[in-house]
Symmetry: none
Subunit: 226 residues, 2 copies
DNA sequence: AAAGCAATTTACATAACCTTTACATTGCTT
DNA sequence: AAGCAATGTAAAGGTTATGTAAATTGCTTT
């Protein structure tokens, strides 16, 4: 994870660099608005930490110009006692703010939250739910096993989707019947067994290890990655 | 811009509806988590404002379930004094949060900030769309398949246009009926099937590969480049 | 009113696919 | 080991959605 830090407080920059580095981030720092901006415009970061009060051009202006070309998430940092216009920041496209002096742990939490959110959005933009070699994209109803496309029928897709959403947990046949087939499970209804059998067959063409485990008397489980 | 508001505070809902309406948004409101969720899952909004404390199911659960199928940006609203786990909300895929009581201008700024960001992301995604051999010019209503002009009727053009704008995604017959034909899809209405059949025939004169795929029980999908 | 189109409906063929049946197998209990 | 219930699955059956030619309707133009 790459973080760009634009702040003229040398001491703070050093502290943060050390702290974030020790948590697995790689940090690049600039101390002026103008130079920081041109660097940000030409390089890709996962998050930018941007001080409001900066030599060169101020943080708001940096954000405004940056937003004309980049969507990189920005957390704005405000100096102690500084009168910060949060609404203005939001309108310019800031993603979060933090008032100095701030707790390092809180900064870390926010950076992580933002990077995770970006990941989530990208994942959702691909529309995929990926786990242990099984990937489903609800939007297009496509399914992949170990990156090989498999053709599932509507019901098969829904069942696998349900299992994937409850990965590692037992899903009862009753639940599958009600949620996917839309009816109560009748005593000798073997329909779900058949669907599961067919799904397994299709997955097995690409993945050797059995993914859908039967829990006798209880239901089915989609095994987790471990 | 369409906003879905899920909040059980009737008074707040009325105030917000009035305020946001006056700024050009159209508002739909639900007062329970369960009903709000099922509506959100089946309709498209630009932003969802979601209260955390809700009758039915709580806001976190609504968000979690919604995120399984929809990308709609969500701003979470927290009641006064409520202990809100912000990081948890972000992890579930919330896009922002706001503590009550909040300033209306701030809410508006955040809604606008989010819709703008989403637009940007969508724009970026569209720019990377590859050519798939189908080209429509809405202005002159001309259609081309592999650069050969094809003659489409008005309805055919509209349907193909809709599919193209949702390239790679399933478009249901219901959606086509409502958006193109301007009426609800009736039980034995085969009109859309015929239009699709005719469009396919015309495309097939110039492109061998089937472009419009049927997803049984779900709708049609215009395939991307691959 | 006839002609010309486009949209829709009808009618039937076909394909997809869900379910049932039937029998084999597994796993648990006694 | 026997017995029983649950599960696996191939094959058959039946239902529903879809494809499409052809007829019909509806609208506009001539």
């Amino acid at each position: 994870m790459k973080v760009l830090l634009i702040d003229d407080d040398i001491e703070l920059v050093e502290l943060l660099t050390e702290y974030l580095s020790s948590h697995g981030f790689s940090i690049t720092a600039y101390h002026r608005g103008d130079t920081g901006l041109s660097h940000a415009q030409t390089h890709d970061y996962d998050v930018i930490l941007l001080d409001v009060m900066l030599p060169g051009i101020d943080g708001f202006e940096v954000l405004k110009q940056l937003r004309q070309t980049k969507l990189t998430p920005v957390i704005m940092l405000t100096a102690k006692g500084e009168d910060f216009d949060r609404i203005f920041g939001l309108e310019l496209g800031a993603d979060d703010y933090l008032a100095k002096p701030f707790n390092h742990r809180e900064l870390l939490a926010r950076v992580k939250a933002i990077t995770r959110r970006i990941e989530n959005i990208q994942q959702l933009a691909n529309n995929s739910l990926e786990e242990n070699g099984i990937r489903l994209t609800p939007h297009t109803r496509e399914a992949f096993a170990a990156e090989n496309k498999i053709e599932l029928t509507g019901t098969e897709f829904e069942i696998l989707f349900l299992l994937l959403n409850n990965q590692g947990e037992i899903v009862s046949k009753e639940a599958i019947s009600e949620q996917v087939l839309g009816r109560k499970l009748a005593p000798f209804d073997r329909s779900i067994d058949m669907h599961v059998s067919n799904i397994r067959k299709k997955i097995a063409e690409h993945i050797e290890q059995e993914k859908i485990k039967t829990v006798r008397g209880a239901g089915y489980i989609l095994l987790g990655s471990a």
